[in-house]
Amino acid sequence: MSAIRKLLGCLLILAAIPAIAAEREILIRNATILTVSRGTIERGSVLIRGTKIAAIGPVDQVKASANAEVIDATGKYVLPGIIDAHSHTAVEGSVNELSLPNTGMVRIKDVLDNEDISAYRQLAGGTTAASILHGSANAIGGQNAVVKWKWGKPLSEWPIPDAPAGIKFALGENPKSSNFQPPPGQPRQYPNTRMGVEEVIRKSFIDARDYMAKWDEYNAKKKRGEDAIPPKRDLLMEEMADILRGRVFVHSHCYRADEIVMLINLAEEMGFKVRTFQHVLEGYKVATEMAKHDVGGSTFIDWWGFKAEAYDAIPHNVALMTRNGVITSVNSDSDELARHLNLDAAKSVKYGGLTEEEALKTCTLNPAIQLGIDHRVGSIDVGKDADLVIWTAHPLSTYARADTTFIEGEIYFDRARDLAKREALKKEKADLLKREKDLEEKEKKEKKGAGEKKPARVAEVGR
């Protein structure tokens, strides 16, 4: 990474870091509070103390101390930060460890990138947290990372500390490589059919049981004081074993109704539970089975027809699954869509007639429940993290805009601040570009003198 690039990147990040307060108090006053869990408070206030929501209520009942910062939110709406249960943002390099049918030992947390501008852009759309998933190239892909978009903070502060671990499975066209060719000269990799996909998963769990048995034998011997050689550690088998022990949430990408039911049956046979089905575009066809297995559905609401397995997708999917008792969330699977998940939530009012309350849950409380972080986030409740967004209009309206985004009581995005900084950033960029150009001219002159070939630099930058 060139020095100039690093410097400019740092400047962009520093531009966003807000002032840090010890035990700050912020009163968001006189707005429509959409608690999501306990209905709507017209003309209400939310009091933030430190990182938590301290009080919620009608405007004349919520009092703040004298040194509280008061934000007049008259006419505005406050919604909990939106949670995206299917993200691939903030990952350095590929999200797919393509090389084997089961790469469950790899971890997204090892390749997180806290300089991905998409995180900031999502804050600007009211999204504050996400489950960053491995891709869908393998039947069993890799371990996820559940983070908050703490733009400007060190990477270590991004993962939500007590978020349950999760792993990505994938069913259907992608893990059987229907739609992409192997690199030239390389043979196609198993599996090639949905039969093979099931087998990969089945075999992985059978192998895991063997692995667990070997360790049990070893541990029993040690206990008896016998001499024993420990089995060879296998990081993949340990992950599979943890799934069987119920320590890891399984989030499985799927499309077709038959593969949804396949995994439910397989899970019940192998002795684990599927936590959520992702995409699950045909979930509406087997919502009964999903409800019985107590598995959630997380889906992008109206994309369809891009693959054969997406052809029967209907935007009423969320509503139908919800009506059948399945906890359903809308997600993005896209840096772009993650900026307006509030609108995807609105679509299940139109398609299938969910109430506005139910619709708001699909982008806030329900993904929080699915990810096991609803003790912290997903609704405006006293004691939860102050992850809140101030909207200019009702967030289910297409005319609404997120203007201020809080995570744990700190402002991570504010439109007024963003606008105010633009001129300064433009000037800074121009200055840096000029400095780089001057540096290059200088080097060229020196190169002419020294006669040595230096590493190339592009002379033309900018627009």
Binding site: G9, L12, I314, E336, G352, L396
Partner: protein, 432 residues
């Protein structure tokens, strides 16, 4: 080998089965209909409360508060409802694609750089399932455009109803589409090529493409002249022939370009050949306002739901473009550049309104403004007596997601408000 041949046959057989919509197509009956006591939004004039609109013979017969309802009219009670013109999407691939990953169903991109002889109107599938899905959300008319190569081909303005492509086409072509060569390799400011050699080669390739474009147009000008000359026969060249109306200024050119440098080069190219240019895409329009204004170039803006190209772009760059054009008095329309997801056109327009564009302008950008840009404002784009009866009845603002479109009329024919998706919904709602 045999198994593979069978597999290929099966795939080929599957595609048409998937593509045939079973939704009843337009009934062929241009009934006389009166929608009474509704809030009517003509778009080109102020909304009318408690208004009546009469459709007859496929046209809008009358609008107003005191309109005589013909005796044989079917009367629809519009109490609590609103009436708007059918929405227009200025850039789609509807009718040319069924399943993105199945090549047999995709007809958007012809091979090679020079395809002016590719014409959308001969490849449209009137029974695509995408059509009912789109029109039941109030989009009645779209531009379907080709996408392959540098000169991609000629588009068609189509109604989303009709038993054959000819019945759908309102105007074909509207324009020739050019995917303008791009001066920058990647879109990110931080993307620097690894070595000087690769960058040199890429620059050479860019220059070659521009030269090819200009050479082709010069040849087209020569061909046009040759056509006028008398006395000498020559073999026809369909590539050049399909550029003749363009170089004569009769058929506009929609040039797809996003980057400011590309837009400027495109304008230069259009002026060189006296082309009637329309810009499509336009991520960087705010940087080229003067160039667009000075040359009176209208813009087909969109998709709005797209990421700003550079890391250091303002986060709302694509959302504020529409208002910037509006403030500068530059003509524009909003497009989705989609097929399956074109139904979200009104919401993409509304997004622009969330970032400054007046709401009425957002509505105009998907009704009267595209009609004007495409030269069909005498026929569609607003509710006015004499125009084609492309009419939608809603229970609110069609740019709001929570609004329901209750009934759609295309060419005065009442459209079945079902799609494969609503039928699947009904089917599985009934699962015990």
């Amino acid at each position: 080998m045999r198994a593979r041949a069978i597999a290929l046959l099966l795939v080929a057989a599957a595609a048409p089965l998937l593509a045939q919509s079973v939704i009843p197509n337009n009934p062929g009956v241009k009934a006389t209909v009166a929608i009474r006591n509704a809030t009517i939004h003509p778009v080109t004039s102020a909304p009318i409360a408690n208004g009546t609109i009469v459709l007859a013979d496929g046209k809008i017969a009358a609008i107003g508060t005191n309109v005589a309802i013909p005796a044989n009219a079917r009367v629809i009670d519009g109490t609590g409802l609103s009436v708007y013109p059918g929405l227009i999407d200025s850039g789609t691939t509807i009718g040319l694609t069924e399943i993105g990953s199945v090549a047999g169903t995709n007809d958007v991109n012809e091979l090679g750089d020079l395809n002016p002889n590719a014409r959308v109107e001969v490849a449209l599938n009137p029974h695509s399932n995408v059509i009912p899905v789109t029109r039941i959300n109030g989009i009645t008319t779209v531009i379907t455009r080709p996408g392959g190569g540098m000169i991609a081909g000629h588009d068609a303005l189509i109604q989303l109803a009709g038993w054959t492509p000819r019945e759908m086409v309102l105007k074909a072509p509207v324009a020739l589409h050019i995917n303008f060569p791009r001066v920058r390799a990647g879109s990110s400011f931080f993307e620097q090529p690894q070595d000087e050699e690769a960058e040199k080669e890429r620059k050479k390739q860019y220059t070659r493409q521009l030269d090819k474009l200009r050479d082709t147009f010069r040849d087209a000008q020569a061909y046009a002249k040759a056509l006028e000359a008398k006395g000498q026969r020559f073999d026809r060249d369909l590539i050049l022939e399909n550029l003749v109306d363009v170089v004569r200024g009769k058929v506009p050119v929609v040039i797809h370009a996003d980057n400011a440098a590309d837009i400027r080069e495109a304008i230069k190219f259009a002026k060189e050949f006296s082309l009637k240019m329309i810009l499509s895409g336009g991520d960087d329009v705010q940087e080229v306002i003067k160039d667009l204004k000075d040359n009176d170039i209208p813009v087909l803006l969109g998709p709005i739901w797209s990421l700003p190209p550079r890391e250091d772009d303002p986060y709302d760059l694509l959302f504020t473009n529409a208002n910037a054009l509006h403030q500068a008095g530059i003509r524009f329309a909003i497009q989705t550049e989609e097929a399956h997801d074109a139904r979200n056109l009104p919401y993409q327009a509304a997004n622009c309104a969330a970032f400054g564009l007046p709401k009425e302008e957002a509505l105009k950008a998907i009704t009267i403004y595209p009609a004007q840009i495409f030269g069909v404002a005498d026929r569609i784009g607003s509710l006015e007596a004499g125009k084609i009866a492309n009419v939608i009845v809603t229970d609110g603002d069609p740019l709001e997601i929570r609004t329901n479109v209750k009934q759609v009329f295309i060419g005065g024919e009442e459209i079945a408000m079902d799609s494969n998706q609503t039928l699947l919904y009904k089917k599985f709602s009934a699962r015990p």
